[in-house]
């Protein structure tokens, strides 16, 4: 019997594009808030963080539409956002003061819980502010749920360096946390 090469028709470009749009929108829903929070920690305002986040996900859309690599996408997103934020900060030519701190906890939390959390946060914030920039970024990216390899990609560090940075920071934080 003669062999017949089977070839499936390629999906139309519009279907591919729609699939990429859906995928980017889904990733956006999951990662937008963590990315925007992280971008603010890089030293840009809320409005700029929102703009940079939008640009980052547009870059992701073009990246995926061009069929480029898909491994470690979250690391890619945070790295791209970080680079854009640093450019934005430089373009603004001055450090923008960080936004005022948000309320300590949601309205459903009881006042005692709010007070304890606020005090704890103040103590921790003082230590975090004193950390070197790279250590602080590792800490915040981890708090946003990034895995170590994603943090490594974002900050262009080795995985071992991320672990060393985090252990050093938590070691300092543990000294403070244990004090009243």
């Amino acid at each position: 019997m003669e062999a017949v090469a089977l070839s499936l028709p390629e999906p139309p470009a519009t279907c591919v594009r729609a699939a990429v749009e859906r995928e980017v929108a889904a990733i956006f829903s999951q990662s937008h808030a963590p990315l925007a929070r992280y971008l603010k920690s890089v030293g840009i305002s809320s409005a700029d963080a929102e703009e940079v986040a939008q640009d980052t996900f547009m870059a992701l859309f073009l990246h995926l539409r061009a069929g480029k690599r898909r491994d470690n996408l979250r690391g890619w997103i945070f790295r791209t956002g970080r680079n854009l934020a640093l450019k934005r900060r430089q373009a603004n030519s001055r450090e923008i003061l960080a936004d005022p701190p948000p309320p300590a906890a949601g309205p459903e939390a009881c006042p005692e819980t709010n007070a304890v959390l606020a005090a704890e946060r103040q103590r921790l914030e003082a230590v975090v502010r004193a950390l070197p920039g790279r250590d602080r970024e590792c800490l915040l990216l981890r708090a946003e749920g990034l895995r170590y390899r994603e943090i490594a990609e974002t900050l262009d560090m080795s995985l071992g360096a991320v672990a060393a940075s985090l252990s050093k920071s938590f070691s300092r934080l543990s000294n403070v946390s244990d004090r009243p």
Binding site: S29, F61, G160, S167, F170
Partner: protein, 264 residues
Amino acid sequence: MNDARHIDDSVLMLEIDGELDSAEAAAARRHCEACLECRERRRLLANAAERFDAAYRSAFRPEPPDASVARLRARMADAVRTPAGTAAKARFATPAAAIGAAAALIIVVGAIEFSGRRAVAGPLPDARLTPGLAHAVSRDRVCADNTPDAPEIPSELAAQVFRGYRIDPRPRAYEVDYLISPSLGGAGDIRNLWPQPYAEGVWTSRVKDALEDHLRSLVCAGRIELAAAQREIASDWIAAYQKYFMVDKPLPDHIAFVKDRPWE
């Protein structure tokens, strides 16, 4: 100080966060069971991480991303309509916003990029002559007045604008328009004014007026930042119109929209 017989803090951290493979994690746990010092260091690190995470989460402000998702979707659709090269350029030309803290004015510079459709005095201004200029005003101030009227442009200033664009104005042919409208904080300065054809093509001053009203309502509803609205209208108001009304061409109602008088 870590002894060679003990586990390094960074390995403990990897184990706490589940970053080791199962064999390495099991070995680390076995060691900690047998080693009081490592067990104690692990407890302190895990405790600090847990407390930091709880404090960090408590600072979260819920940010429903609905409006942001809609905006991203519109941008993706816009990028598809535009040829790939131009889309990428247009999207990532970051408008340089020179914001002086002490200055009374801010210059919002649009993407200084000249494409084929950008005529010297067409639907889009010449960015070298009209980069856009806005007062440093807050959203509250912009939204305080329900029906803001654009200040009359002095005839001498309008004449300067025409001279800058090397145009000998025909009556009723142009509206000397604010690039960033006063309703969005735009300044009555030559750097924010250009002669826009009143009824040439489809992207007329009437269509832009409709966009200005829409952007102001979005700003006042808290759906977009004032600075973002200023940047977008200064960079490319046609792209902003397409994005916010999610259309390629002006809506029929907007083509007939009459708000400002033509320059006579």
